[in-house]
């Protein structure tokens, strides 16, 4: 989850997010190098006592500062496209979960076998237990088996919402009447937080998402318990 004074991404919890994180490091490094070079050149130009009144042809440097940016762009584009196609690969999910956005909570439906459905409301600040996170905790979490490809079908029952979990690298708009598919694999067990990412009214900031990745047996126990309670 996010922490105060955070600068970078949250720790990745899925292979795709890891790739995105590393790509961001790569692109940011290139950007920082170029910016440093430009800043240096500006200060050098501003502080020099030399003057040159006779620049005519400058073929060589023109060639260099045309080819070099093209090469840099290719070095950015190749990893970017690699990740784009990686995210687009046909995956064979083990499990399908529907995440329906409402004003102002999410509801999750696990209907591959039985009809399991439940609502997920934010825990109000005054009801938080010590150690819980303000505006992020929910009464029921979306539990998934770890290391399994999961398909999430995101939709909404009233207005636009958006289902986002940054550490899994997932964000998908929830549009009424439309079913949007997102997929992820939770590479490690843990609890991953997200927040609604499309303005949806008064309590838009108070309908968080919590995904809990657990070993398969725990997931099976949890779903049996949830079905009994329903």
């Amino acid at each position: 989850m996010a922490h105060p004074t955070q600068l970078g991404f949250q720790d990745a919890a899925s292979p795709v997010m890891e790739e995105l994180l590393h790509f961001h490091d790569h692109a940011l490094m290139i950007v920082l190098l170029i910016s440093t070079l430009v800043l240096y050149i500006i200060t050098a130009m501003v502080s020099t006592k030399l003057t040159n009144k006779y620049i005519l042809d400058s073929q060589e440097i023109e060639i260099v500062w045309t080819i070099l940016p093209a090469v840099i762009l290719v070095l950015i584009a190749l990893p970017s496209l690699r990740i784009l196609y990686l995210m687009d690969e046909i995956n064979d999910p083990h499990l399908t979960i529907k995440a329906m956005g409402h004003q102002w909570y999410w509801s999750y439906e696990y209907t591959d076998y039985e009809n399991l459905g439940f609502d997920s409301y934010m825990v109000p600040t005054q009801d938080l237990a010590p150690g819980q996170f303000r505006l992020l905790e929910t009464d029921h979490r979306m539990v998934v088996p770890m290391e399994s490809p999961v398909r999430v079908l995101v939709s909404a029952e009233d207005v636009l919402h958006s289902w986002a979990v940054p550490s899994l690298g997932v964000k998908m708009d929830a549009v009424p009447g439309r079913l949007n598919q997102a997929a992820f694999i939770a590479s490690r067990p843990g609890v991953f937080y997200g927040q609604c990412s499309e303005i949806c009214g008064a309590n838009h900031s108070f309908m968080p998402i919590v995904v809990e990745a657990v070993p398969l047996e725990h997931f099976e126990n949890w779903s049996s318990l949830m079905l009994e309670d329903a």
């Binding site: 064979d92 499990l95 399908t96 439906e109 591959d112 079908l153 998908m172 439309r178 079913l179």
Partner: protein, 86 residues
């Protein structure tokens, strides 16, 4: 043929990848399987044959379609106001 289908239904985990709907928008995938289930039932029951192969479509639409959509459509079928052709 029927046992291939029975096998697929028995080993069902979740709706598999359907090449007819390769993109993010899976709305039609859900609706098409719902229609196919009811059409399959109508045809097989109409001929007096066993409609258990239709269970595949039912498993798929139950996996994909939100429960509220299914309830709404079931209600419309009962009323006779369902917009799709079955």
């Amino acid at each position: 043929m029927a046992d291939v289908i029975d096998d697929k239904i028995k080993n069902y985990r979740t709706a598999p990848f359907d090449a007819r709907f390769p993109n993010t928008n899976q709305t039609r995938n859900c609706f098409q399987n719902y229609l196919d289930f009811h059409r399959c039932n109508k045809v097989l029951s109409g001929k007096g044959q066993d409609s258990s192969p239709c269970e595949w479509y039912q498993r798929v639409y139950k996996s994909l379609c939100p429960m509220s959509w299914v309830e709404k459509w079931d209600g419309q079928i009962e009323d006779g106001s369902f917009p799709g052709k079955i």
